[in-house]
Structures are given as structure tokens and as C-alpha cells.
Symmetry: C2
Subunit: 125 residues, 2 copies
DNA sequence: GCAGTGTGCTACAATTTATATAACAGCCGG
DNA sequence: CCGGCTGTTATATAAATTGTAGCACACTGC
């Protein structure tokens, strides 16, 4: 499992961590039932504070990507609230596509990008 | 011109404002050369501070959506750095689609959503 | 019991966000 | 030239967020 944190990024550490793990799930590096490293262990590995990792895990729990087992720590367990997920996607996509549209990125180019990213998920599974 | 700010949102005011304006450009409510309200005027209209509006305008300027004319204020002027725009889109899309993929949203559903949003832009133009 | 687990709490510094005043330089119409 | 409009800059303040730090607790597996 490779998690890369960019300490020069303006994105919060716990969000970078959250995103990396979500991408890890999408690319099947993490699978349903897999245990994530303990907050202390991962914090040590990355070189950040325990609470920062804990915050990332808490967000992932709240967003329905992991469940917490006191014996195993954080375990990948995806709660599929598709209605909610679509609503979230719609809201985020709105701004993203508005930007793209302004910058003359065509609908076809976006479709191609979607395919490219989706295929990268399927292949690494 | 309608700009709606949600004071209960956890999204920063200046970012909401930025997003609304970008969507406004995409939907042709604002067109190339149009002047945005002055920072003071818009701040008054919305009921927020002048500097918050100024920050939104500054971000829009840096992102290449407006240029600033001291006589006319902020003017819609899109600087098309397509390479940059695609790179940005790719990075943002990565996390968004990872989330969607985990939540069992199919590639086709994403495509449909893209079309839906893009069409809403073209129709209101 | 011991080591490891998540969780809770407090505290602190740095940064971001938003507000509030105030002032400045440039431009325009009267 | 003057008054009013523009963006811009500076300073100050309050609140929230971010990240670190240390400590303690309850639970679990060996």
C-alpha cells in the first residue's frame, strides 16, 4: 500500500490521506473487509500526527467508506447510499464542468477523460 | 444576475461566490466583456464584507476568468490555458470518480450526468 | 498482565476565513 | 477642479480550521 502525502500542497493532510484511501479503494488496492493500518502505525509511517490520521479515518467513516472494529481498527466497508452519492457527485460536477466549459473543454473531451479514469480503476482491480 | 449564498453551508463564502460566477459564465448569464458589480456594490447586495467579494474576484482573476479594469471593475475575460485546465480537471475528477466508483455509480451514469449538465449550459446560452 | 487497538480530552501554534475601518491612486462626468 | 466611483492596500480583530502534542481510558488478543 502506497500513500503519498505532499507536504507542500495547500490541501489539508487529512484530506490528502482521505483521497488517497478512496482512490486506493477504487483501484482495488483496498478491498471490502481489508483492515487499514492503525492510526498510530500509519501516522508513524507517514510521519504525521496520530490525530491527523484519526481525522481522515473519521471522515471516511462518516462518508461510508470504512467501519471501525476495535479489534481490527478501521476496516474497508462501503455503505452504498447511491442517492446521496449521486447528489454529491452532481453538486461537485456542476462547478467542475462549468470551469471546463468556460475553458473550451468539449463534452467529448470530458467523456474521454471519464473513460480513461474509469478504465484505470478496472484494470488495476 | 442572481447570486445565492448559503450562509449555513460549510463552504467558504468567497468560494461559493467564485463558483456561482463561474457557473454564471458557463450558463452565459455573464458574457465576455461584461462587467461584474463592484466589490462594494456586490458586497452590499449580498450582505457580506467587501473583502470577501474582493477575494472571490482575486481568485477568479488568478484562475483566468476575469480581468480587472480600474474604470469598469472586474470584467469577464477568459484566458484559455487549456493544458492547465485539463490538468486541473483531471486531478479533481480523479477523486470524484473514485468516490463514485466505490459507490457503484456506473460509467454510463456519469456520462449521462455530464451530458445533462453540459446541456443545461448550452440551453441557457 | 501486556501490548496494541480506537477514542476522548485538553492545550497550543499557525493558518484560513470573515469582518471592520481607513486610506490611497486612478478615472470620469459635471 | 471636485466629487464620486473604481480597485487596491494596510491594519486589526474574532472565529474557525488545521496540525501537533501529551495524556488517559476501555477494550481486545495473546
Amino acid at each position: 500500500m502506497y500513500i503519498e502525502i505532499d507536504f507542500n500542497s495547500d490541501e489539508a493532510l487529512y484530506l490528502q490521506l482521505r483521497n488517497q484511501i478512496i482512490i486506493g479503494i477504487a483501484t482495488s488496492q483496498f478491498q471490502e473487509g481489508d483492515a487499514l493500518p492503525s492510526v498510530r502505525q500509519l501516522a508513524d509511517t507517514i510521519g504525521i500526527n496520530m490525530h491527523t490520521v484519526n481525522k481522515a479515518y473519521s471522515v471516511l467513516k462518516q462518508e461510508g467508506f470504512v467501519k471501525v472494529d476495535r479489534r481490527k481498527g478501521a476496516v474497508i466497508a462501503i455503505d452504498i447510499d447511491k442517492m446521496q452519492a449521486i447528489e454529491d457527485l452532481k453538486r461537485d460536477m456542476q462547478v467542475l464542468l462549468a470551469k471546463s466549459s468556460c475553458k473550451q473543454i468539449s463534452r467529448e473531451e470530458v467523456h474521454a477523460l471519464i473513460d480513461e479514469i474509469y478504465e484505470s480503476y478496472e484494470n488495476e482491480g
